[in-house]
Subunit: 326 residues, 2 copies
């Protein structure tokens, strides 16, 4: 399980011995709780990312941090960055390759764990690059109030499509309809028959499904897809904590009869498009044309609990942990 | 169930009344037994093709036929065609729109139910248009000795990839290795652990899976796909005769971790490419660079039994029914 632990000394010891000329020491400010991290806490055969080296090692994840010391002249003391860091007060990052310097420090820094960071970029790539949207199409987003889903819905509206979202509480459904501008939304926990629910929200069917949950929802969506539909598979959070994946997806034959393209993607493959993404999204955030809701936990000691809450849907909006103020 | 019945009179009666100027009366020569037809024998909600209007009506399917009478000057008495016709001696076809005139009558006419007809075109579209192959990639084909699979394997070899096929008997595996030129092949019925079997045939993983069967095979393949793999979903014959689809596909999360594209397709959407397909395949057949194996049933009275045999894999190669000689 996830536990809090201090390893400040370990970091400093490593740093003294390190011969590398591309390392930085950072003070962590915000940490990001992301569902993909669950995959690193078990065996990861065939996965895209290593498991944590062993129980007892520090958890790593995306965060916002400030450079304290640096052996790379491009990263100076006091610079703000986001990227993979440790769940600890200070982290030694041995390579700056995966770090991004924060240029718009006038926006909330925590946004670089979300709307301006990996989840925002994921929403952008998933919708614009994988879904191949056309104006006027019908789009469904599951886990729609989450870090990625809330942005997908707003991108869909800006693009000119109709969008319905599902989430797991009345509060979240209210957010979707009243804050994020979804055309409609429903609480999947109140819909024992998901197929019937989708038929009522999409009487003419779904052109695009932005898949965040998997399981029974995917099966119901397959029955409601339109011919030449697209399914962008971003994640399947309903499956991550199961000993064995659930009873399985039964309606895949719909892929043939409806000529559906179903495509998984990882934002890591699209870092070259990150500047283009920022160029689009930063002005939208500054002009208030896109909004973002965070669920903020205070203090590293509350990080494990905040992370675990993702899988029961306890968070409302993007789950962030504040480690330190600047 | 499928039963033999004569409806010659019905056809002639209709023909007399018909005002349409695009109808032809044909004498059926060869009928094609294709797995997709199973989908027309039950409820077809959301399917791409209507169910047979009612029990008691004549089964329709692809076939090769000779024009006996015609109200369309483009189709003359004595012309040979292939397309959708009836499982009967003579058929009235009310529109010639879906009919193709046979130009290469020096090749076996039955080939227009297979290698030169819908299944051949399906193999061509599936491999060249959906799989996005690159030379040297590793390709797996299930139901590989069937009407489509045997051609896919040969296209793969001509293209310059490595191909392994699965089938359901020793005879079929021998065909794959010795007649169709697959690099390797196995009998899935002898492999209780499909995951382990695929790992032994593809120690470095699978780039392309040409999916004909669904079910447990798909689940095992997902575990063995490589990053950026593609799955062309042509059919899922293991699922067609189940009251409820089987226990379901459990490993779809692999689509994300390995960034896999899984795409269903129907050849009906690609008829514009049929001339291009023929241009490629006819010379290959004439030069003996592609071979084709048929399982021929004699007489309309044996058609129902031949069709049912598809689902237990009794046929070896493309299942054809001879209704009449020219």
């Amino acid at each position: 399980m996830v536990e809090e632990a201090s390893n400040k000394q370990v970091i400093l010891k490593d740093y003294v011995k390190d011969e590398c000329n591309d390392a930085v020491l950072v003070k962590n400010l915000y940490l990001s709780c992301d569902p993909y991290m669950r995959g690193r806490m078990g065996k990861t055969e065939g996965s895209y990312i290593d498991s944590f080296t062993a129980p007892g090692s520090t958890i790593t994840g995306y965060g916002v941090a400030k450079i304290v010391d640096s052996s790379n002249p491009d990263f100076k003391k006091g610079d703000l960055i986001w990227g993979l860091t440790g769940w600890e007060e200070y982290s030694l990052i041995r390579s700056t390759q995966g770090l991004f310097k924060i240029q718009n420090a006038d926006l909330p820094l925590s946004y670089y764990t979300g709307i301006l960071g990996m989840p925002g970029h994921t929403a952008y790539i998933g919708f614009y690059e994988i879904c191949s949207p056309k104006k006027g199409e019908y789009v469904f987003v599951s886990a729609a109030s989450g870090a990625v889903g809330q942005l997908v819905g707003q991108f869909v509206k800006l693009f000119g499509c109709y969008v319905v979202g599902s989430a797991g509480s009345k509060d979240k459904v209210d957010l979707l309809k009243n804050k994020f501008g979804f055309d409609d939304a429903f609480n999947y926990k109140e819909k024992p028959n998901l197929d019937a629910a989708l038929k009522s929200y999409f009487p003419n069917g779904i052109d695009i499904y932005f898949e965040n949950v998997g399981g029974k929802m995917l099966d119901a969506v397959l029955l409601n897809m339109r011919v030449n539909g697209r399914i962008a598979v971003c994640g399947m959070i309903s499956q991550y904590n199961l000993e064995n994946p659930d009873e399985g997806t039964r309606n895949l034959l719909c892929l043939v009869t409806k000529r559906i393209r179903m495509e998984g993607f990882l934002v890591f493959d699209y870092y070259n498009l990150y500047p283009k993404f920022l160029e689009m999204v930063v002005p939208l955030v500054k002009q208030g044309k896109i909004t973002y809701v965070e669920d903020v936990a205070q203090g590293l000691e509350n990080a494990p609990n905040a992370f675990v809450g993702l899988f029961s849907g306890r968070n409302v909006g993007k789950q962030v942990v504040v480690v330190a103020s600047e």
